[in-house]
């Protein structure tokens, strides 16, 4: 931590220099006058926080930075320093316990980190020294060292690939441990490297370390004795990241550029920002109230004490003289210490144990999510994953759900459906026709044919324009496949095996081409091989790949065929292709594209361009130059790309189906029924997204769609801004002002009385709303927009860039009432919104593991969201809310009698309860039942929760932790506290309570109050428990039994270490008094009376709980997908429309 901060501090200095210069092999270069070995950090990875020496102080410091711990430390110190009524042990022991447990846990974790670190740091690596590989510990690698890495080893630091054992100057790596993507990625050596690394004399200029895994810009100068220095551009494809593993390559050499804590991996391991749950905020608010109560109590007592003492003879009666020391203290100091003493006496009102219990509840409770078999997905053989347990209860509070479309709502399991070549449509073929297609050629399926050449061109384009790799079956994989291929990968279709790509669309397209007879055979040393209809192998030299990126939304390749033609193939979204092709070709295709899109398919347009020699030369030069640029390389590349990808001719379009996730519609319906607003944020195009929304029943037939997209903005023929203004106000009038005011709590979704609105906005329009041009007075747009969105049942945002997604989430998050947001997504493009939302959920999809890594919870499928929110979230919320309220309650009625007692003991801080009781109350007597409750309680059975989504609304908006319920609990606590104290006080108006006439003293008084207290508080919990498992029985009755046994034990022995034997046989004598028994029973019954009464009176208001047994047994099975009522309604509306 400190080290990292220091690094950052120095890094700040370093950053002024934009780049670093690395001397390859740490040899001086002829071009530079003097060789100054640059100072970089060593290759030691330090992920551990502590060393043996600083563990204790540092850990304690960290722990006491938590405000609660600090508060208890202060109380403890006050107890040590000032003469206080309770011994320091009473608060010191629990604090010590908490601190020790935490320290041990953290120490153990740190020890594991140390072990892992040293494993990494001591890992033997081979560094080239004088041409010979020398063994070294990994931590000794310096920047500039040339490192040798063999197959299946991980890279010890960030390396620039200089030499590979493969012929084509590539190597394959897998970055599974970095971003979870297990596919093999190709990295390239620095172009035109000489083979002899020993004589290599070069420097590398590259940017300062930055955490982005996919960005790297650098430049390499190679010095040769007689030539001018040659310059090579370096990009991410040359950089091998620490943590990645070398695959399918025997050996590589690379020069270290970033080492140790400056590697991209280390920079990425900075902790995520801590998310705090709304419950925690409530706790803090309540804490503040209790702190105020505490302070006012102390102030009242201190004042009363001095008022009382000012009376004659009360301050220091003859029987109770002050000590010399007391007499000597100044009045004001005395008053202050008295105040502190009262604080200490009442400090139990804010218990240490609450934090411990809450933490334990969260930690243990989160296991129920990972244990849940309903979350287990047999396909990926994984269940749910909990990355943080702090947000369990937040799952029960979600108001807005932001969901990604691809891979989340849909399966991201692409299947080539149809294509359109030159305006003719080639419809889908079923998989049974597969062989038929391949053998006979596509002639029979192509009903109306475009020209043969066009067809071939189209299929070639599909085969060439991609970054798909053919998986080289290494020995291990081959073996695995042969032995039990279908079993270990039961779901991967046989034909899909063999292609690896970053996006499943590409695989689908290549496979589609394969079905039509064009097979992509692979890429070898820049030559792409495809097999055509005639089973001839065509070879193309791959000249350039113009990579896909979400902004351009297209990719291109430039290839040279055997015949010497240079061709550019481009595929991309229609919106990005259409402006770049000849307009007359567009119309023929556009119709098909739109039709496919409305059917919910993902469409891509394919275009090509024949490059003349001059054109190619220009493009080539431009690309090379841009790649070499150190600064703004991205922008420069983009400019060249845009320049090259013009004036193409459109060949055709493809349609790929992305099937809906299982139960996507039911899940969405359930979420909406639970009162959540579902927003779909997708990068996909509007038509596709819209159809997905219809398929998921986010939009119904009856939904009136409000569109705010580029199309609607430009339709009026006016300026966009004006149109935006009009539309926004129009929509606002419709959706917000005309909407009936009372909508909360009603089952609005199935009643067609209110018009429903769906809102569609696209990225461009959103940008206009979010960042309006300064001249217009449209700062209101944002709030208008937000209001419209909030009044629509579903919102679809399409064409979103990842950051825009986060922007939307942020906007909603910070809107009025700060609603709880949840983002769910599966891809890297969803990470920003997952991090932004209150709760981030990752779907363990196909697009790597980045979303999962950055999420708070990860689930295998979208359908699991329903149970996660409706059942788990609901239960967690109820549990923790009850836990928090109960904790405050039980401590208030614990301390209130003690406070009241001050009025009867001359405000002398005399504790009512014995020190053992004070200490044990929160630790032993009352802690276990509530913990068990907060782990096991199911006020409403899980099945019922799943079936009745509306139940979720009952706890919306933090319903159980608002001031109302808090006030109820507080009043209850005060009531009970008063009863405890005054009930016993009236009993003690005659302290002769035994049948032998002997009298009871003050400790008996306290013990009776305490006994009533423990029983009442525990029985109160028992009354609230609606789900009695054997654990609850065990813990509740066990706690009470433990209290009795402990009291006997504690009072039964003269404890040699105690100064005073206050409780000696007090408990026993209490039990021998009939009056004490009677008063205990009476007070317990009386204290619980209001709660029972309220329980009875409250019932009629919540019909759900009463109905639940009937529903769970009867209704559950038949309406597993949708409630009957709902089905009829929507069917009706279907027929009407």
């Amino acid at each position: 931590m400190l080290r990292r901060r220091l690094n950052r501090l120095f890094g700040g200095d370093e950053k002024r220099v934009d780049s670093r210069t690395i001397y390859v092999g740490n040899r001086p270069c002829p071009a530079t006058e003097t060789f100054i070995p640059p100072k970089f950090c060593d290759n030691r990875i330090v992920s551990s926080k502590y060393t043996i020496w600083n563990f204790l102080p540092k850990n304690l410091f960290e722990q006491f930075r938590r405000i609660a711990n600090f508060y208890f430390l202060i109380i403890f110190l006050v107890q040590v320093i000032v003469d206080t009524p309770t011994s320091p042990v009473t608060s010191g022991l629990p604090l010590f316990f908490v601190i020790t447990v935490t320290a041990i846990k953290q120490g153990y974790e740190d020890w594991l980190r140390h072990k892992a670190d040293s494993e990494v740091n001591k890992y033997p690596v081979r560094v080239l020294e004088d041409g010979q590989p020398a063994r070294k510990d990994s931590e000794k690698i310096k920047v500039g060292d040339i490192v040798e890495v063999v197959e299946d080893e991980t890279f010890p630091c960030d390396l620039i690939l200089l030499q590979s054992s493969r012929d084509d100057d590539t190597c394959f790596v897998t970055t599974a441990s970095l971003d979870g993507e297990s596919n093999h990625k190709t990295h390239y050596t620095v172009p035109d490297m000489e083979k002899d690394l020993q004589s290599l004399s070069a420097t590398i200029e590259c940017e300062q370390p930055q955490p982005d895994l996919y960005k790297f810009v650098g430049r390499m100068h190679i010095y040769k004795p007689e030539h001018d220095p040659a310059v090579r551009s370096l990009g991410p494809e040359n950089l091998l990241l620490k943590g990645a593993t070398l695959k399918n390559t025997k050996k590589i050499y690379g020069v270290a550029v970033y080492t140790g804590m400056e590697t991209k991996m280390a920079l990425n391991y900075q902790g995520k920002s801590q998310k705090r749950s709304a419950v925690e905020k409530s706790i803090n608010a309540f804490l503040l109230v209790y702190l105020c109560i505490l302070i006012s109590k102390a102030v009242v007592c201190t004042t009363l004490k001095y008022v009382w003492q000012s009376q004659d003879g009360q301050d220091e009666p003859w029987y109770n003289q002050k000590t010399e020391k007391e007499k000597g203290t100044i009045l004001y100091v005395k008053m202050f210490t008295d105040f502190l003493s009262f604080m200490v006496l009442f400090n139990f009102i804010i218990p240490v144990s609450m934090y411990v219990t809450v933490e334990m509840q969260k930690f243990l409770g989160s296991f129920f999510i990972t244990w849940d078999r309903d979350f287990f997905d047999p396909e990926i053989e994984e269940g749910a994953l909990v990355n943080t347990s702090d947000l369990n209860e937040e799952l029960g509070q979600v108001e807005y759900v932001f969901t990604d479309k691809t891979g989340t709502l849909t399966q991201n399991n692409m299947e080539f459906i149809e294509c359109c070549i030159d305006g003719f449509q080639y419809t889908a073929f079923s998989s049974e026709l597969d062989s038929f297609c391949v053998t006979d050629g596509p002639v029979s399926t192509f009903q109306e044919k475009a020209g043969r050449e066009k067809e071939e061109l189209f299929l070639r384009a599909l085969c060439l324009c991609h970054t798909v790799q053919v998986k080289e079956a290494g020995p291990d994989e081959l073996g695995g496949d042969q032995v039990d291929g279908p079993a270990s990968e039961p779901l991967r279709p046989a034909e899909q095996r063999g292609f690896i790509a970053s996006s499943p669309d590409e695989v689908a397209l290549v496979k589609g081409a394969m079905r039509y007879g064009f097979t992509f055979l692979g890429l070898e040393s820049k030559t792409m091989k495809i097999k055509n209809w005639q089973n001839d192998v065509e070879e193309y030299e791959l000249l350039h790949v113009l990579n896909f990126d979400p902004v351009r939304r297209r990719m291109s390749v430039i290839v040279r065929s055997k015949s010497g033609d240079t061709l550019l193939f481009c595929k991309g979204a229609d919106s990005s292709i259409f402006p770049r092709v000849r307009p007359e070709e567009v119309e023929r295709i556009r119709m098909h594209v739109q039709r496919s899109a409305t059917e919910g398919y993902r469409t891509l347009c394919v275009a090509y361009k024949r490059l003349s020699v001059d054109e190619y030369a220009a493009a080539d030069a431009g690309l090379r130059e841009a790649r070499l640029a150190l600064q703004d390389r991205e922008e420069k590349l983009m400019a060249v790309y845009n320049q090259v990808e013009t004036a193409m001719s459109l060949i055709g379009a493809t349609a790929v189906e992305d099937r809906l996730q299982e139960e996507a519609a039911q899940t969405m319906e359930a979420l909406q029924g639970a009162g959540m607003k579902v927003w779909v944020l997708t990068g996909d195009k509007m038509e596709t997204a819209k159809s997905t929304c219809y398929a998921c029943r986010l939009f119904r037939r009856s939904t009136e769609l409000l569109e705010l997209t580029v199309r609607t903005l430009e339709s009026g023929g006016r300026r966009r801004e004006e149109m935006l203004h009009d539309l926004l106000f129009d929509f606002h009038r419709k959706a917000v002002q005309d909407a009936p005011p009372a909508r909360a709590g009603v089952n609005r979704s199935w009643s067609s009385a209110n018009p429903e609105y769906g809102f569609i906005v696209d990225g461009a329009a959103l940008a206009l709303v979010m960042n309006p041009s300064p001249d217009t007075n449209c700062s209101r747009y944002r709030s208008l927009f937000l209001q419209i969105c909030q009044n629509c049942t579903a919102v679809l945002c399409c064409r979103m860039a990842p950051l825009q997604k986060a922007q939307i989430v942020k906007m909603v998050k910070n809107s009025k009432g700060s609603p709880i947001t949840l983002s769910i997504g599966d891809g890297a493009n969803d990470v920003s919104m997952i991090l932004e939302a209150h709760v981030g959920i990752g779907v363990k999809g196909k697009e790597g593991r980045q979303a999962v890594r950055n999420s708070d919870y990860a689930i295998p499928k979208l359908k699991h969201l329903r149970k996660l929110l409706l059942a788990h979230g609901h239960l967690y919320y109820i549990r923790i809310a009850h836990l928090v309220q109960y904790f405050f309650y039980k401590n208030l009625c614990f301390i209130l009698p003690q406070f009241l007692y001050q009025f009867f003991c001359g405000c002398s801080q005399q504790p009512l309860y014995d020190a053992a009781y004070l200490t044990m109350y929160n630790i032993c007597f009352t802690s276990m039942p509530i913990l068990a409750y907060s782990l096991l309680e199911q006020q409403i059975a899980i099945e019922v929760l799943l079936d009745n989504a509306t139940l979720y609304r009952d706890i919306a908006k933090n319903a159980m932790l608002r001031w109302g319920p808090f006030l109820y609990w507080t009043v209850l606590a005060v009531f009970q506290g008063l009863i405890f104290f005054f009930g016993v006080k009236y009993l003690f108006s005659n302290p002769a309570l035994q049948d032998n006439g002997q009298v009871f003293g003050n400790w008996s008084y306290g013990t009776i109050v305490f006994t009533v207290l423990v029983f009442t508080v525990t029985l109160k919990l028992a009354l609230d428990t609606r789900h009695w498992t054997w654990i609850n029985h065990f813990v509740i009755w066990g706690s009470l039994a433990f209290y009795v046994v402990f009291s006997f034990f504690w009072g039964g022995i003269i404890w040699p270490f105690l100064k005073q034997q206050r409780l000696y046989f007090v408990f026993f004598n209490m039990l021998s008094s009939v009056s004490a028994w009677l008063v205990i029973i009476l007070l317990i019954v009386l204290s619980l009376l209001p709660d029972i009464l309220l329980g009875v009176l409250r019932k009629p208001r919540g019909p759900h709980t009463q109905q639940k047994p009937a529903q769970s047994s009867g209704g559950h099975h038949q309406t597993s997908d949708r409630p009957l009522l709902m089905r009829t309604f929507s069917d009706e509306s279907n027929t009407v429309m």
């Binding site: 010399e324 244990w371 849940d372 047999p378 009993l987 108006s989 002769a992 019954v1085 009875v1096």
Partner: protein, 369 residues
């Protein structure tokens, strides 16, 4: 029902998982199917409804009211007589004593207060002294004792605990017993005389023992050096508490009731809970079943007036009381039981009414659902 449906589910999952040879792997990774982990532990799910609570209310009412009546009657049957002998009024016989107070007088002030009992006290009579406005529960006071010294620990005898300050050491000698509590031990002597109708004073025998908790007398409090040895020698080197007229080993002549195990001391050392309290002083044993312990008639209370309370506006009382199974006279419990019982009963009636009236409406609204 639930369990059976669940089993079916489980089988389904098993089939799909083990469709191939890789079934084993599926099994190990799949979360355990235990009732606990799946949150399906069998549970009793009680619901508080009017139906379950109403009988409870009536039962509580029906049990509490008789108990309350019993308690009330018992308490009323206890005879109690109380007399304030502080001597605030000039008319009070103890007025002089209360005025002329000084610790160091060797001659003690005595006064006697006549009183008469209207009713005979039949069973054993317990004699209490009561103090008012005396804060035995003041923190400084409560902690000012050394239980280890009182338990006979010789080290603590010679070096009392610091808690005893400022009653720890006097004239360089440790005080035994130390501390404010012991120092302020009640030291009035109360004697009771029965005045025969013919005028003769018959002293009433007062028992000094049996007034302290048995465990206190026998375990918690012990003389140093065992009970057999010579107390004067054991306490050599210690000094008496400041306000005591005589040292602790001269509290009584009976060796079983002397020193730290003196029951008056033990009773005093059990600090009272409230500033107004009573402590057991003596027991008047019933002689035989024929005559009442204290017959109707006139009595005199002779007081050796030592204990000053005027300085802190306190009061001293002498209480004679009989005892029942529930202890001394205290109508509170009886009244509380009766009232809680009636409240429960009343609530039961009201709830029954509400339930009857609104319960139907509730049912009818349930049916369409």
């Amino acid at each position: 029902m639930m369990a059976s449906s669940y089993n079916i589910k489980e089988e389904d999952g098993h089939h799909s998982g083990s469709s191939g040879p890789g079934g084993n792997a599926v099994r190990t990774k799949k979360p355990d199917n235990t009732a606990f982990k799946q949150q399906r532990l069998p549970a009793w799910q009680p619901i508080i409804t009017a139906g379950t609570v109403l009988p409870a209310f009536f039962i509580i009412g029906l049990i509490f009211i008789p108990i309350g009546i019993g308690l009330y009657v018992t308490s009323n049957n206890i005879k109690e007589f109380e007399i304030d002998y502080t001597g605030i009024d000039i008319s009070s016989p103890c007025f002089n004593c209360s005025q002329s107070y000084s610790w160091n007088t060797t001659t003690s002030c005595t006064c006697s207060i006549p009183f008469s009992l209207d009713q005979p006290f039949e069973s054993n009579v317990f004699m209490y002294y009561g103090l008012s406005n005396f804060y035995q529960n003041h923190r400084r006071y409560v902690k000012s004792r050394d239980d280890s010294q009182l338990n006979g620990n010789l080290d603590s005898l010679k070096a009392p605990s610091k808690e005893c300050e400022p009653y720890r050491i006097n004239e360089n000698m440790p005080i035994a017993p130390c501390g404010a509590i012991a120092n302020s031990m009640f030291n009035d002597t109360l004697d009771l005389f029965y005045i025969d109708p013919n005028g003769t004073r018959t002293p009433i025998p007062l028992m000094k023992t049996g007034i302290a908790w048995w465990t206190d007398k026998h375990v918690k409090f012990r003389n140093p050096g065992g009970s057999s040895s010579n107390l004067t020698a054991v306490f050599y080197g210690t000094t008496k508490p400041l306000s005591w007229p005589k040292p602790v080993y001269e509290l009584d002549t009976d060796p079983e009731n002397n020193g730290f195990v003196n029951e008056d001391l033990i009773v005093w050392m059990r600090t009272a809970a409230l500033p107004t309290f009573r402590k057991l002083y003596r027991i008047i044993q019933k002689k035989n079943s024929l005559t009442p312990t204290l017959p109707r008639g006139n009595y005199t209370l002779d007081i050796v007036y030592n204990y000053p309370v005027r300085s802190f506006d306190g009061r001293k009382r002498m209480i004679l009381s009989t005892i029942s199974w529930m202890g001394g006279k205290n109508p509170f419990l009886g009244i509380a039981y009766i009232s809680v019982g009636s409240v429960c009963f009343f609530l039961g009636v009201v709830l029954l009414f509400i339930h009857h009236k609104y319960g139907n409406r509730n049912n009818s609204s349930d049916i369409p659902n």
